[in-house]
């Protein structure tokens, strides 16, 4: 677009042109006027000079006539002095030769007349000057001088001429100053005119235009982009035109928009989910309400419109006035209020009112938004906030937020208490520098922060803090580091758990652990620690090492099975099962093997412990092999004792059926006898030949069967009687005994034993007596002790006789020793010995190794009973296969008490 001159420029230009025109007209009128004035002036000068010439003409004519040069000179001087403005006077004679001349000193101080112009007659210098010939004068030297020449006539005869050079300078300078003044005035006037015009135009015309344009441009900046439709009178006008066009198009649009807006508003009003009402400003009655309002109130439009002002606004009249005032001042915005719903429940609403025109009327537009849900959410949030605040406040662990820079932002009461402050506020007020106030030394916090920077998401550290009173606080600190927007560490969140007590407890525990470690090592019981998952042994104590004969390094790191600790797999499994159970293992008896293979019986108890986070079995075992043996003996004793108690009872019960067996068998024998009278009678009655029956009975061996029945019944009865013998022994009398004599008697009896002799000749056995001399006297029932010894001798002899292969040099060694309390008798054979099983059961009633029918299994039981119950002693056996058997009997020396009891 070509550059359009601005209005300001155009105005200025117009003014300048106007001024120039004014100047031109001035000049056009002024110059002729000036020339005419000048002519008048020159005529004046001409007249002056004429008059001078006339006045002096006679005098000068005389001089010329008389040729008095000097007088002429003087005369000229006189004129020069007399008339101002004369520059030179020259007097020519009639031959046109200068006779005298004078010059003004103002032109040439030396009075040289030639300095003005050559002293010549006027006609001679005519060509040099513009003259008016008719007037005999002319302009010389740029009009600054006038040359005047007049012929001096006397009596009509020309005697010469007087030439006067007149200084036109003053007149000229007067003219110049006139021009200057005029021009100055003129210029001033023009200038003023220019300035005033311009300013006035600017102020009252251009500026408002600019303002208008600018306003329009500002209103629609894009207006500049509109290409001008019309010519370009000026930029401003152009702008205004364009802006006007734009404005009018916008106005057209705006009207359309307003119309649409009106529709939209109506649509919004009708369909808005918020209740919108328009009340009359004057009395508050409804002017319009929307659907949402009607729905929220459960009213029809007619009902709503008929509501009274008070009902419509929902406020009392006095309040309405206040409210109206506020609305008039600009409106009410987002006022929270409670509102009743049609169903009676309370809704929270947000209420805004603004004044609006409604037709001719002033009205209030109110919008009511149901914020019940939001309110509830807010309440829930507040409750949640409260809840978390309470958690924060009530948590038994310390919770904090600290600035990375090293001060508290927040701390909960637990934290304050932990550090010995009365309240979080006090703590926040007093702890200004974390590293100084809550750490034992300034550097400590640095380490903590280093760790946090490496792992901002969260770290857990055990830290020693400093309480308010300077005492240490041991704490587990969990913390995370939060960064600001620029990624720099900003603040820390975390918790602090006071473990000071735990720490103390740990110290105590360590001391305790040392103690227990010693206890572990030095315990007389064997203790084994093993991993629960792999059963690998972690540690054993001294007792284990000494008891089982292993070096410590032979077992640690191994599984017990590897070195054959368990003698019995089932027991091992049971042990592990109990160990894994919740209650652990309590006094489980288990057979174990020493390194040398010896079996031992252990009573083991165990628990699963957590050691360094790993489940570990702690098993404590005690060698109860001896105890077990004792216990077995006790059980044996108990068994034997109980036999005495129950025997009497069961004997009666058994004897009755035995009686039936015996007596019915005898009846059978009697009723099959061929010689019994009653039998014969009955046989004859039925035609039976008793002889034949007898033959039959004998042939079929029936009598033998019946006999066997009788014998068996009797034997059973004998067994019972025998078994019960000892219950009657208590009545035996105790006397002072000679044990060696009793033994000798028993040996004699054994040698004469018929039953024994059948199988073995007792005399072949080498009997060794090893008796101490002078036994202390002691009481016993001689026959009973004799029975016991006889029984043992018989058993030994029988065992040696029946052993396969037979014992080559059978020997029975009988020894008697004593101490202060006991007499000890040992009876040892070199027979085949006893298997452990036999050995364990040897004192049990009815236990026998002899063929059925040959032994009652009661011999040793009775012996055991005689020694333990009858005499308060002990009876034991030591034996192993191939190594013979030793029975050990200990009898108390002081039998007085037991005698009395018996």
């Amino acid at each position: 677009m070509s550059k359009v001159p601005t209005l300001s420029y155009q105005v200025t230009r117009t003014i300048v042109f106007t001024c120039i025109a004014i100047c031109a007209s001035f000049l056009a009128i002024g110059i002729p006027l000036e020339l005419r004035g000048r002519e008048a002036q020159l005529k004046t000068v001409d007249a002056l000079l004429e008059s001078i010439t006339v006045r002096e003409s006679n005098q000068l004519a005389n001089e010329l006539f008389e040729l008095r040069a000097e007088a002429s000179q003087l005369r000229l001087d006189m004129i020069l002095d007399d008339v101002p403005g004369l520059l030179r006077l020259v007097l020519f004679n009639h031959q046109r030769v200068p006779v005298a001349h004078v010059a003004s000193t103002s032109i040439d101080p030396a009075g040289n007349p030639d300095s003005i112009l050559p002293v010549e007659p006027l006609d001679a210098i005519h060509q040099q000057v513009l003259t008016r010939k008719e007037m005999n004068w002319g302009w010389i030297y740029g009009q600054s001088r006038l040359v005047f020449e007049r012929t001096i006539l006397v009596a009509g005869q020309a005697l010469g001429s007087l030439q006067i050079v007149y200084d036109l300078g003053p007149m000229r300078s007067q003219t110049i100053s006139y021009y200057m003044v005029f021009t100055g005035f003129f210029v001033l006037t023009l200038g003023s005119l220019f300035v005033i015009l311009r300013r006035t135009l600017q102020r009252s015309f251009i500026r408002p235009l600019h303002a208008l344009r600018d306003a329009m441009v500002e209103a629609r900046p894009e207006v500049e982009a509109i290409y001008p439709k019309y010519g370009v009178p000026s930029q401003e006008i152009n702008d205004i035109v364009r802006a006007y066009e734009d404005m009018s198009s916008r106005l057209a649009k705006a009207f359309k928009v307003i119309e649409e807006s009106e529709q939209r508003f109506r649509s919004i009003f009708d369909n808005a989910p918020y209740a919108i009402v328009i009340n009359s400003f004057e009395d508050g009655r409804f002017l319009d309400v929307n659907e949402a309002y009607l729905n929220s109130k459960g009213l029809t439009k007619e009902q709503a419109m008929a509501l009274s002002p008070k009902e419509a606004s929902g406020f009392p009249l006095d309040q309405q006035a206040v409210i109206r005032d506020k609305i008039r001042q600009g409106g009410l915005f987002n006022i929270e209020a409670e509102s009743e719903r049609p169903d009676g429940s309370i809704a929270y609403v947000l209420h805004s009112s603004v004044p609006i025109p409604y037709g001719e009327e002033e009205a209030i537009l109110s919008m009511v938004v149901d914020i019940t849900d939001k309110k509830r959410a807010e309440l829930a949030l507040a409750q949640s906030e409260k809840k978390y605040r309470e958690i924060f406040n009530n948590a038994p662990i310390g919770i904090f937020r600290t600035a990375y820079a090293g001060y508290f932002i927040e701390a909960n009461p637990s934290l304050a208490r932990m550090f010995g402050y009365e309240s979080p506020d006090q703590m926040l007020a007093q702890v200004k520098d974390l590293s100084r106030d809550i750490y034992p030394s300034q550097e400590e916090r640095g380490g903590f922060l280093d760790a946090l920077r490496k792992n901002p998401a969260g770290i857990t550290m055990e830290i020693e803090f400093k309480r308010k009173d300077g005492t240490p606080l041991y704490a587990i600190t969990h913390a995370s580091l939060q960064m600001d927007e620029s990624g720099k560490p900003s603040y820390l969140d975390g918790t602090i758990e006071d473990i000071t007590e735990r720490k103390r407890a740990e110290e105590a525990l360590k001391a305790s652990e040392r103690k227990f470690s010693e206890l572990f090592m030095l315990s007389p019981d064997s203790i084994v620690l093993s991993r629960a998952d792999t059963d690998v042994i972690l540690e054993v104590n001294e007792s284990f090492v000494t008891t089982f004969g292993y070096e410590r390094q032979e077992v640690i790191g191994k599984i017990a099975d590897e070195f054959g600790l368990y003698a019995n797999g089932k027991q091992r499994d049971e042990m592990l099962r109990q160990l894994k159970s919740a209650h652990g293992m309590e006094n489980l008896e288990i057979q174990l093997a020493k390194k040398n293979g010896d079996g031992v019986i252990f009573s083991v108890s165990g628990r699963t412990l957590i050691v360094a986070g790993e489940p570990v079995y702690l098993v404590i075992g005690r060698d109860i092999t001896e105890q077990k043996k004792m216990q077995q003996m006790m059980v044996q004793t108990e068994k034997m004792l109980s036999v005495g108690g129950i025997a009497a009872g069961i004997a009666h019960e058994i004897n009755n059926p035995l009686g039936i067996i015996l007596q019915t068998a005898q009846n059978l024998a009697q009723r099959t006898r061929p010689d019994f009278r009653k039998n014969i009678e009955v046989a004859e009655g039925i035609g039976l030949d008793m002889g034949l029956l007898e033959t039959y009975m004998q042939t079929r061996g029936i009598h033998t069967f019946v006999d066997n029945i009788q014998t068996a019944a009797l034997r059973a009865a004998a067994i019972i009687r025998h078994m019960l013998d000892f219950s009657r022994r208590s009545e035996s009398k105790r006397t002072v005994c000679d044990l060696s004599a009793i033994i000798d008697k028993a040996i004699t009896l054994a040698a004469s034993d018929y039953n024994l002799k059948k199988n073995y000749d007792f005399k072949r056995i080498n009997i060794v007596r090893d008796f101490v001399e002078s036994l202390p006297p002691f009481n016993c029932t001689e026959t009973e002790i004799e029975q016991v010894i006889l029984n043992l001798l018989r058993n030994a002899a029988q065992a040696m006789a029946e052993s396969d292969p037979p014992t080559v040099e059978p020997e029975i060694r009988l020894s008697i020793t004593h101490d202060n309390q006991h007499i000890r008798m040992e009876i040892t054979d070199n027979g085949p010995g006893l298997t452990p099983e036999v050995k364990n059961r040897i004192f049990e009633p009815f236990f026998t190794t002899k063929p059925t029918g040959q032994g009652t299994g009661l011999g040793l039981s009775v012996s055991y009973f005689i020694i333990t119950k009858g005499h308060g002693g002990t009876m034991d056996v030591e034996s192993s296969p191939g190594k013979g058997t030793t029975f050990i009997i200990e009898l108390p020396i002081d039998m007085a008490r037991t005698s009395e009891e018996a």
């Binding site: 025997a647 009497a648 004997a651 009666h652 019960e653 058994i654 004897n655 009755n656 035995l658 009686g659 039936i660 067996i661 015996l662 007596q663 019915t664 005898q666 009846n667 009697q670 009723r671 019994f676 009653k678 039998n679 019944a713 009797l714 009865a717 019972i720 009687r721 019960l724 009657r728």
Partner: protein, 122 residues
């Protein structure tokens, strides 16, 4: 008239066995009772010459029966036929004429019982 022998035993097989044995000899009249009380009731009708009495009986025991029958004069002789293993006669029974020979320990040989009956009342 043959002498009357009363057998008092709570075990029917024992009563039966003794009855069958003794009955074959046709020397006695035999009467059976399963308890002391029943025996005393029977003896009210006719006194017995001899009673073979078990010691353990339901209700009144053998010892009490002997005392009662003796006191009432319902029986002259008694044999104690017992399952007990004590071969000593209770001293309390001696006043009623019992000796150690009258103590018969079960299982007891029939002929020994017969001998003793014959000896006492034969």
């Amino acid at each position: 008239m043959r002498p009357l022998v009363m057998i008092v035993d709570d075990e029917s097989d024992i009563r039966g066995a003794l009855f069958d044995f003794l009955d074959d000899y046709d020397e006695f009249r035999l009467m059976l009772a399963e308890s002391a009380e029943a025996a005393l009731g029977l003896l009210q009708q006719e006194s017995a010459d001899l009673c073979i009495v078990d010691m353990r009986l339901p209700g009144m025991n053998g010892k009490e029966f002997i005392r009662e029958a003796s006191v009432q004069g319902l029986c002259s002789h008694f044999l104690l036929h017992t399952g007990s293993i004590d071969d000593n006669l209770d001293k309390d029974l001696k006043p009623f004429g019992l000796t150690k020979k009258d103590l018969l320990l079960k299982p007891c040989d029939n002929w020994r019982i017969l001998d003793r009956i014959r000896a006492l009342i034969g």
